[in-house]
């Protein structure tokens, strides 16, 4: 038998409602669309270090590994799967092509509500704020 | 047993609300510190640790001092302490949590604190300190809670609790030794680079911690009529007296080495603490002299048994002892360690208002925890009929 049912059952109902609230509250809202980001143009920036789809889902883990390899192991060259070599540098290599941080990085991060703290230190190239 | 917290007299809740208000103020100031950075403190490039770390150090000692009740009770079967052990253990719980909070508020990047566990670094004393403090918290909470629950249900505590109690005795020594090693292994900080640091820490912990415990028990006696027992209190006062004698003796050893050897590096921090620098008095000088006078005065009131057993005098002796040890370890230790700087220059440090308010907030959290746990302990004793002192 259940003691104190008059407290426990309403409590459970409130807890379940709170946990599932995101589902209820989002019924009827438009589904997520990938934001229209500014892809770099120009001769040297046809191809990112790895394929676009992979970068889209894995760039954060790649950047973490880049960070550790460069800062902690002094390995500052990345040999991509296609054999091309890149300087490991968020500031110079990534932002060198993706010069438009606001319309590239921020757009997607904002629509996904993530606030990477990379930008606390790594300053964006001049003239794109 | 937590339900006992919901059955209190109004003045208990008034007291808790008062503490919560202090905590609230501390939290608000801490939010400012989080946003603005540690610029809101009085710390600087030269004096890079201050009030937070010194309070951390002091309360590691308070936490470790629970052993002064546990050891006589379990190793020497001094049964008169059994009645008050729970208060020592629960005070240790509050003190360890305060220590951890003082570390967290001192961090520049507190959200990364788990890096200490994600990237374990056994060569760092800080890593070991985190280990031993967490362990000590779990030990005291577990032992205190389980023994109290058994007392409530009038059953003997489970067998596995005893090895844990013995472990907690050694663990108590380890937490303060490791905390001393934070300081005593740093080259170039003359005031800290001394082999006797851990011993000094333990001596000062074993007088100041039980003194705080006794003072709090006196307050509890006034508020709830819980009588810890005359014999138990007298024995504790004797322990405090011995520990304070050793504490003062160890400090005099430091003075001998520094001044008889004549090595300037060893003398400078002590000279700075007591007389300032180049004829300029530092604010800490008055405090250090107060500590010296209070230490001697407390000993004068504690050493003669006639005075020590005088219940009107004892609280004053204990208050002076706590103030003296707090100034020595909670102010002088850090300021003397950083002054003079590695360049033999003087950078003054004064805790900022923000530091003091955040620190008070943590004192408030410690007060909340100890009040809640002690209330549970007292209520259990009332329930089971062990509240009244048996002749």
């Amino acid at each position: 038998m259940l003691y104190n049912a008059k407290y426990i059952i309403p409590g459970l109902v409130v807890a379940v409602a709170a946990f599932t609230a995101p589902f209820w509250l989002n019924i009827g809202t438009p589904s997520y669309t990938y934001p229209d980001v500014a892809v770099p143009t120009g001769e040297d920036s046809k191809q990112c270090v790895e394929p676009k789809e992979w970068m889209r889902t894995q760039h954060m883990t790649l950047l973490n590994t880049w960070r550790d390899e460069a800062v902690r192991f002094d390995k500052r060259t990345y040999v991509a799967t296609d054999g091309k070599k890149w300087d490991i540098s968020l500031q110079n290599t990534c932002l060198g092509c993706h010069a438009n941080k606001v319309d590239f990085c921020d757009k997607c991060h904002n629509s996904n509500n993530v606030q990477p703290y990379c930008w606390n230190c790594h300053v964006a190239p001049k003239g794109n704020e | 047993m937590l339900e006992l917290l919901f059955k209190g007299r109004p003045r208990f809740y008034l007291w808790m609300a008062f503490l919560a208000a202090i905590v609230g103020l501390g939290v608000i100031v801490y939010i400012f510190q989080l946003v603005l950075g540690l610029q809101v403190t009085g710390m600087s490039r030269d004096v890079s640790w201050g009030f937070y770390i010194s309070q951390f150090t002091y309360f590691v000692g308070v936490a470790a001092s629970a052993v002064m009740l546990v050891l006589p009770a379990y190793f020497h079967h001094y049964v008169k302490f059994k009645r008050v052990i729970i208060f020592g253990e629960f005070m240790a719980v509050g003190a360890v949590i305060m220590c951890m909070l003082f570390i967290v508020v001192d961090l520049g990047q507190p959200q990364r604190v788990l890096n200490v566990l994600l990237h374990p670094t056994p060569n760092s004393v800080m890593f070991w300190d985190m280990m031993v403090l967490s362990g000590y918290l779990i030990l005291n909470l577990l032992i205190g809670w389980v023994t109290l629950e058994c007392e409530r249900h009038d059953v003997t505590p489970p067998k596995w609790i005893k090895p844990l109690v013995f472990l907690s005795v050694f663990w108590a020594f380890s937490i303060h030794t490791v905390t001393a090693f934070l300081y005593a292994g740093l080259p170039g900080r003359h005031y800290w680079l001394t082999a006797i640091m851990a011993a000094r820490f333990l001596a000062s912990a074993f007088c100041s911690g039980p003194a705080i415990l006794m003072l709090l028990l006196l307050v509890v006696k006034k508020a709830t009529k819980f009588d810890p027992g005359k014999d138990a209190m007298r024995t504790l006062a004797t322990i405090i007296t011995y520990a304070m004698c050793i504490n003062v003796f160890f400090y005099l050893l430091e003075l001998f080495t520094a001044f008889y050897s004549g090595i300037p590096g060893h003398q400078h921090p002590i000279l700075f603490l007591f007389s300032g620098h180049d004829g300029h008095m530092a604010w800490v000088n008055g405090w250090m002299w107060t500590a010296a006078v209070f230490a001697i005065a407390s000993l004068a009131l504690l050493i003669p048994p006639a005075l020590r057993h005088n219940e009107a005098l004892l609280p004053w002796a204990l208050i002076m002892l706590v103030i003296a040890s707090w100034i020595d370890k909670g102010l002088g230790l850090l300021i003397g360690g950083f002054t003079p700087t590695p360049f033999e220059t003087v950078t003054n440090y004064t805790p900022s208002l923000a530091e003091i308010l955040v620190g008070l907030g943590i004192y408030g959290i410690g007060g909340l925890i100890v009040s809640a746990l002690w209330k549970i302990a007292i209520d259990v004793k009332k329930e089971t009929g062990t509240f009244e002192l048996k002749a």
Partner: protein, 258 residues
């Protein structure tokens, strides 16, 4: 009844643990997905068994000599210029008595007593900062350089208490407003982390000597201490040099020609 509830809780607890550890294992495999490419030492990387620096103090005679190298370093690395005692310094100057506090006496040449000396991280053989760091945020590379990983730093400042040379600075506040002309090629730091001289690891990777060495016109030498033919070894063989606080056993890698 009571017994079975107890058993239920045990099973529930075990299941929660199993689910939790499965999630933790997944975290591990997510990292494996990044092992796409491979990592190499940069092609132009300058290499040494033990990098060391020799400062010819005879060639630092006026304020401009110091300012030139300090500016080169501080601009290159976005070191903020913060007034007051919560400042940040990688490379700076101070008097003989403050730089070498063990043995100042009043009868030395004017050049020494009234002169200034450059101070920076000593990149010790046996660095106390590395010993005390609880996260491995500061560590010693095989080539002798003591590096700082600001991403890892929790800002506990144990390294600042450990360093007997006062070589480390803490970011008490956000440094960006105090950097006049931000060098976008090098990341500034954020509030709450410790920083210091890195012997320009990022320049060595590109085949360049440290910024202060380059700006000094030969007054600061940099090279491999283990190579008898290196510029630093030649300078050490030909001149009388001292190091800061050698009795502490840290083995500083910065030498001063007096």
């Amino acid at each position: 009844m009571k017994k079975s509830r107890r058993d239920f809780l045990k099973v529930a607890g075990l299941s929660a643990f199993a689910l939790g550890s499965a999630a933790a294992l997944n975290l591990g495999s997510a990292k494996a997905a990044t092992a796409e490419g491979t990592y190499e030492t940069a092609p132009a990387q300058l290499k040494a068994k033990r990098w060391a620096m020799v400062i010819d103090t005879r060639r630092f005679t006026n304020a401009a000599d110091f300012q030139k190298v300090i500016d080169a370093c501080h601009h290159e690395h976005n070191v903020p210029d913060i007034p007051g005692n919560q400042n940040v310094k990688w490379l700076w100057k101070d008097t003989f008595a403050h730089t070498f506090p063990d043995d100042p006496h009043g009868y030395m040449p004017d050049r020494i007593i009234h002169g200034n000396f450059l101070l920076l991280c000593n990149h010790c053989d046996n660095p106390p900062c590395v010993r005390v760091c609880p996260t491995g945020a500061t560590f010693r590379q095989e080539d002798g350089i003591v590096v700082m990983d600001p991403h890892r730093c929790i800002g506990c400042r144990f390294c600042m208490a450990g360093c007997p040379y006062g070589s480390r600075s803490f970011n008490f506040r956000d440094p960006l407003p105090f950097i006049k002309d931000v060098n976008t090629a090098y990341p500034p730091r954020t509030r709450g982390v410790v920083e210091k001289c890195t012997f320009c690891t990022e320049r060595l990777a590109k085949g360049q000597l440290p910024a202060c060495v380059e700006a000094s016109d030969g007054a600061i030498l940099f090279g491999d201490l283990s190579d008898p033919a290196s510029t630093v070894r030649k300078a050490l063989a030909e001149n009388f040099t001292i190091r800061r606080k050698p009795t502490l056993g840290t083995g500083p890698g910065v030498y001063y020609i007096i």
